[in-house]
Amino acid sequence: MTGGAAALTAHRAESPGEAAVCVTGLRKSFPGKGGRVEALRGIDLRVAAGEIYGFLGPNGAGKTTALRILTTLLRADAGEVVVAGLDVGSRPAAVRRRIGYVGQRGGADIEATGRENLVLQGRLYGMGGHETERRADELIELLDLAPFCRRIVRTYSGGQRRRLEVALGIVHRPEVLFLDEPTLGLDPQNRANLWDQLRRLRDTGTTVLLTTHYLDEADQLSDRVAIIDNGLVVAEGTPEELRGRYPAGVTITPRPGFADLPAIAVELEREPRVRGARLDGGTIRVELDSATTGMAAIFDLLRARGVDVLGVSLREPSLDDVFLHETGRSLRDAADPPSMEAIAS
């Protein structure tokens, strides 16, 4: 799905000066019980212009703190943060003009109508009266707010409110849009809609940086992902790259009684990309270096031995496996990960 786009952004990330966000050695600690608590312990990041970048990590990993520093809400203790080409520490006011922010709590004014919210937001960004009205109409169309934009926000459903809040974040056409857990509490349909809208924004040149603790959000929506745990980036890359670093499992179900399965398992194990193969009931379970290598060799061998294959299932590593490998813990405490199972036949 994102193979082509990922290649493109990877290329872009390498050309200097095109970074929308550049973070080096970012540190932040807060006073807590029994001394200071280190929320960020030296983070380095580079987000290319025009990509969707995901911060993935469990609650308390430091994602929100990092986002708050990038959006001028918090000051860093140490490190350099450059957003849209400007240093956040020394020029927060200039950074604010170039970025949009959709916080975890939303931030729409619930006693005003959606349209009033949009117009005020535009005016606060220094847009003129007519310009703001036009822009508000444009956003109402773009995010499909028309049926309710003249109602008081208090009466909105969760999905309606979230759409308005995204609109508020982009009234002034920011270069970089930051979203903190944008799909938290949304139903699957609203979630899919929001993903589409963020992709469209990306396609018109906006850089999108979001935090999430949903594996599928990081995996399917983000062009690149930084896995954050305990105040550090533990892994970084495109979701495909990250998953490709870890072994994948293939389960092969041959027609019963057709061949000498133990011998075939031994032979499979000798293939270069195969880490191991074993029999499990009537199936053969093979562990591959990665999901993208070694499949062809397995099928060639099975065909050569005359094995009639009834079914094959591939279990690709998920970003949770990546997280598990890097931190020794599972991310599943907070997320409800989809299985990455694909049935090949």
Binding site: Y101, G103, G107, L124
Partner: protein, 253 residues
């Protein structure tokens, strides 16, 4: 100028918010009128006695009621701010380039209006109960007490941002309310009390506002008491606005 425009836009937002909840406008108006109708008769027998020179007790009582209204109109700001911290409004506004001072003053302007308009109504009603209105003095009085509202509004907002919890804010504000209003002689003049009480009142900024308000209501515009009232209230308002702006600047720390 950008800052003035932003203040106007943010004040408009607040005013709309208030007008959409007319129950608050109604309550803001009815409490002082109830004081006039129910409390003033209690004071009637004191007319001409100590602390109540002149003809009507209302001449002393009305400026105090207005000061109480000014205090109350401002002190609600903290509750709103905490609600907006929770709903993320403050965070959203802080990421916009809007002036932090404008964020504070938007609410202050609304609160001042929410004091001045009902106060004018109370003054008109009070004249029917026998209050002697010196309109030039009363105009200046409204200006003076608007400063008190501004100080309370900005101070309450700063407290709200700092404390972040309704419970703590309520404890602090109600804890302050009694000493501040009582030691200002809001309902009963402090001249009725013993010397130590009158001495203690001098550390209360509101005391100067109430004294000046009584003098202005009696028609005296140029006096040391009035000057002291404006001096103390002006300083309190400036200090509170500075504190609140500072709090907005670093609301998440």
């Amino acid at each position: 100028m950008n800052f003035l425009l932003q203040t106007a836009l943010l004040a408009r937002r607040r005013i709309l918010e208030t007008l959409r909840q007319p129950i608050w406008v109604f309550m803001g108006m009815s409490v002082p009128l109830l004081y006039l109708a129910l409390f003033a008769p209690l004071l009637k027998p004191l007319a001409g006695g100590p602390g109540f020179p002149g003809g009507s007790v209302l001449d002393v009582f009305v400026p105090g009621i207005l000061a109480l209204m000014a205090f109350g109109s401002g002190m609600g700001a903290g509750w709103i701010v905490i609600g907006e911290l929770e709903s993320g409004v403050i965070e959203r506004l802080r990421v916009t380039p809007a002036s932090r001072l404008a964020l504070v003053l938007g609410t202050v302007v609304r609160d001042v209006l929410m004091f001045v308009v009902p106060a004018a109504v109370v003054l008109v009603v009070a004249t029917f109960f026998g209050f002697h209105a010196h309109w030039d003095g009363l105009l200046v009085l409204l200006g003076l007490l608007a400063l008190l509202t501004a100080a309370c509004s900005a101070g309450s907002a700063a407290l709200g941002i700092t404390l972040k919890q309704i419970g703590s804010l309520a404890a602090v504000v109600t804890g302050l309310q009694l000493p501040l209003t009582l030691l200002a002689g809001v309902l009963l003049p402090l001249s009725l009390g013993p010397g130590w009480l009158q001495g203690l009142a001098h550390v209360n900024p509101m005391y100067y506002a109430v004294n000046a308000a009584r003098e202005l209501a009696s028609g005296t515009l140029a006096s040391a008491t009035v000057a002291a009232g404006f001096g103390v209230m002006g300083a309190a308002a400036l200090l509170a606005v500075w504190w609140s702006t500072h709090a907005y600047r670093r609301a998440m720390e």
